[in-house]
């Protein structure tokens, strides 16, 4: 049981729908059975006459009333000829127009992968490199990119998000997480005077992404939307040089047998294979620059673990990159001349995960060949803790109101990821 966790453990413990409960009846929950007092009565069982093959039962249908001795008629189900929108029943899965025999494994924004980053790397045929790329780290250290009074302004932003922006004494994560990310982006945007090309970007919420790819006889799809996406007029320059890209041919993807790579993905037979970047043709800001993922749930079990969040970031960044690559270079699977780069930032308001993905190839069916590259900088704290109320012990203020354990490095990385491509 040590290997199984989460959904696997729940599946193993419960006997499942086929296990028999009391009285030999199939086990069904209350939702499926319905409230007993309102349940429609069961129809009476058919007459034994219908079980005898070749015999035509004589029923009282023609007489229009019950007659003892005659069989109970069985009528075909009545088709009213029109459907009320409230009571519309979907056709069975096999008859739906988008039904396909091959199952597709869909990754959506609430999928928590069991194997986390390892599984995401296998699904996207990518190689992991710890730490951000040198180009981005160079932007971090460059003093020209620093904002004046940067630390003071970031501390103000943290205090504003965690304490000042709401009339409550202790604002909840659902409010403070989006406020802190918006304020940090606003702070990064204030550099527009130094770098005028920052004006060539726009943010989009509620976009709908959909991409499909084949991976070793498995059909995988990324679908849905999650958070905000920063779009730019110009693409991000590739980070790894051609030699490094060629060197990934020798890398072997890590498998995690006996766990299947499609675990925790939603398996469905009714799906659409069309690619959708989320925007129509002719959009003036076609290139995805950065994706922002916010974990805003108040309760810890509802939020993603850092590993699961990183896996989600990898898969959505990959989905956006693949859709963009197919739009630019067509649907054939090949190694890309100009790799597509997409960045991603995931946070729960305090801990940040940074990610840069470079899509080198759309040939994902085989395990050999050029791999994609993923740079991940995980678990960067912006501050250790924030005291909304002062801690007073024996009438002495031990901890004043404000953040503790502030790390300015995290915001510098955030700013570097924002400025990347415009500097």
């Amino acid at each position: 049981m040590a290997l199984a966790s989460g959904p696997a453990r729940r599946a193993l413990a419960r006997p499942g729908r086929l296990g028999l409960g009391g009285c030999g009846a199939p086990r069904r929950g209350a939702y499926e059975w319905g409230v007993r007092s309102t349940r429609k009565p069961e129809p009476p069982p058919r007459d034994r006459v219908y079980e005898i093959p070749g015999l035509e039962p004589i029923t009282y249908a023609g007489k229009m009333h019950f007659m003892p001795g005659l069989a109970r008629p069985v009528f075909p189900p009545w088709d009213p000829g029109w459907t009320h929108p409230k009571f519309r029943r979907l056709p069975p899965i096999h008859e739906q127009p988008l039904y396909k025999d091959q199952a597709c494994y869909v990754f959506h924004q609430r999928c928590r992968l069991l194997e986390g980053v390892k599984q995401a790397l296998w699904l996207t045929k990518a190689k992991l490199i710890e730490g951000l790329p040198k180009k981005v780290l160079g932007l971090v250290e460059d003093p020209r990119n620093h904002i004046e009074n940067q630390d003071e302004r970031v501390l103000n932003v943290i205090s504003h998000a965690r304490l000042w922006h709401s009339t409550e004494d202790i604002p909840k994560r659902e409010t403070y997480c989006p406020v802190i990310v918006d304020s940090l982006i606003q702070l990064c945007k204030s550099q527009i005077l130094k770098h005028p090309s920052l004006a060539k970007r726009i943010c989009a919420q509620n976009y709908r992404l959909s991409t499909t790819w084949n991976r070793e006889s498995l059909l995988l799809q990324v679908r849905g939307s999650s958070g905000a996406r920063l779009n730019a007029k110009d693409p991000l320059p590739p980070i790894a040089s051609r030699e490094e890209v060629e060197a990934t041919k020798n890398h072997v993807l890590e498998t995690f047998y006996p766990i299947s790579p499609t675990i925790d993905l939603q398996e469905c037979n009714v799906y659409d294979v069309e690619d959708d970047t989320g925007f129509r043709e002719g959009y003036p800001y076609p290139y995805p620059h950065t994706l922002y993922f916010l974990e805003t749930a108040n309760l810890r079990p509802h939020r993603f673990q850092p590993d699961q969040l990183r896996a989600k970031m990898i898969l959505f960044a990959f989905g956006n990159a693949l859709a963009q690559a197919r739009l630019l270079y067509g649907n054939d699977t090949k190694v890309l001349e100009q790799p597509v780069v997409v960045q991603s930032v995931g946070t729960d308001g305090r801990v940040f995960q940074f990610l840069v993905l470079q899509l080198n190839t759309t040939d994902l069916a085989s395990n050999e060949g050029v791999k994609n590259l993923v740079w991940v900088d995980s678990d960067q704290l912006l501050y250790q803790h924030f005291w909304c109320l002062p801690v007073v012990k024996k009438k002495v203020v031990v901890e004043p109101v404000g953040p503790t354990g502030f790390q300015p490095e995290t915001f510098r990385k955030f700013l570097a990821l924002y400025l990347h491509g415009a500097v």
Binding site: Q186, K189, A199, N206, R208
Partner: protein
């Protein structure tokens, strides 16, 4: 009580009554000589009105004591708490209202004079530090068009917007993008914009007293009571800065136009009374250094859209809706900012 019937015609102490004794005590050292210390030591406590009697003087003394408590409080939060802790029934004023001719009523509630047209341009600060770059209208227009097109056309959303909320579902993100884009592009002309704070859908609250009424019923019937108002607003976006905007006209500027006076109670508007928390909030708490406001951006919901008002035969109310929204929202915001800065002045003016 039998004892109280016999008034003492002669004062208790030997000699003069209390009043003359106190006066003599104050003036006596001056007459004695310069050798005595300059500050006279009052030998009796000061004569003041009673505190708990059922009299106007006692009520006045209680009011002054409360004002002194507000003045003596150390932080602005404490002062705000003392001012707003007692809850009474108050009118809830909605900035976005369907009431007819609401702008005239709101002018009366907020003591505002409405002047059409833009305010007089402020005097040029001399000398200008550097020649400002020319306003690139084409770039601003292009940015606005991009935001509009993205929200209305290019972005593929999932599902339909909820019923009668199409304008808000598309308009709210459009306004967010537009404000962000304009702030970025115009920060070259106004460097303070680059450092400003941008709030999205943050509440703004204000509580004030204006006017009086006679209480119609209840155990306090017949007495004079102040009229209380509360605005709870939620602008779509607002920009806050750390420096105050310069005033357009001086404080004592008087306009020949009069504030409209309505001859009936605010209930006729319709305005309803409710008792709940009195809050004063500009969008962030008092500790925020960005405590001065710059601009607010409001989105009118679908029920006030032009086509609907025209169908209801209320074509003249279109402008009334805009004006009432502006008067109420900005009065609340500026009033709350003033409370954050100088509360004692407010107490003296409105409650003194």
């Amino acid at each position: 009580m039998a004892a109280a019937r016999y008034w003492r015609l002669v004062p208790r102490g030997p000699g003069l009554s209390l009043h003359t004794a106190a006066a003599a005590a104050v003036t006596a050292p001056e007459m004695i000589g310069p050798a005595v210390a300059a500050a006279p030591v009052a030998r009796y406590p000061p004569i003041v009105a009673s505190l708990k009697a059922k009299s106007k003087a006692a009520r006045q003394r209680r009011v002054e004591r409360w004002q002194a408590m507000v003045h003596a409080a150390e932080s602005v939060d404490e002062k705000l708490r003392i001012l707003t802790k007692m809850q009474f029934m108050k009118y809830v004023v909605y900035p976005q209202t369907f009431a007819l001719n609401a702008d005239r009523w709101y002018q009366g509630f907020t003591k505002t004079v409405f002047l059409s047209g833009l305010p007089p341009p402020p005097a040029e600060p001399a000398p200008a530090p550097a020649p400002a770059p020319a306003l690139d209208l084409a770039a601003l227009r292009a940015a606005a068009c991009d935001c509009l097109l993205q929200e209305h056309f290019f972005l593929r959303r999932k599902g339909r917007p909820p019923l009668y909320r199409e304008y808000e579902t598309i308009g709210s993100p459009f306004l967010d993008q537009l404000v962000a884009a304009l702030m970025g592009l115009l920060s070259a002309h106004n460097p303070a914009l680059a450092a400003a704070a941008l709030d999205c859908k943050r509440p703004v609250h204000f509580y004030w007293l204006r006017g009086e009424e006679i209480i119609p019923c209840g155990h306090r019937k017949g007495r004079v009571d102040a009229l209380r108002y509360q605005i709870n607003d939620k602008p779509n976006n607002q920009i806050r800065m750390s420096k105050q905007l310069p005033e357009f006209v001086p404080l004592d500027y008087s306009v020949p136009i009069e504030i409209p006076v309505m001859n009936c109670k605010p209930d006729k508007l319709p305005l309803f009374k409710r008792q709940y928390e009195n809050t004063i909030f500009i969008g962030s708490k008092t500790a925020d250094p960005y405590c001065y406001g710059h601009t607010q951006f409001h989105l009118l919901p679908d029920k006030f859209k032009r086509e609907r008002l025209l169908k209801k035969n209320c074509a003249d109310q279109i402008e009334v809706v805009f004006r009432a929204n502006a008067i109420a929202s900005l009065f609340a915001w500026t009033g709350a900012q003033a409370m954050y800065q100088d509360i004692d002045c407010y107490v003296k003016i409105c409650l003194g």
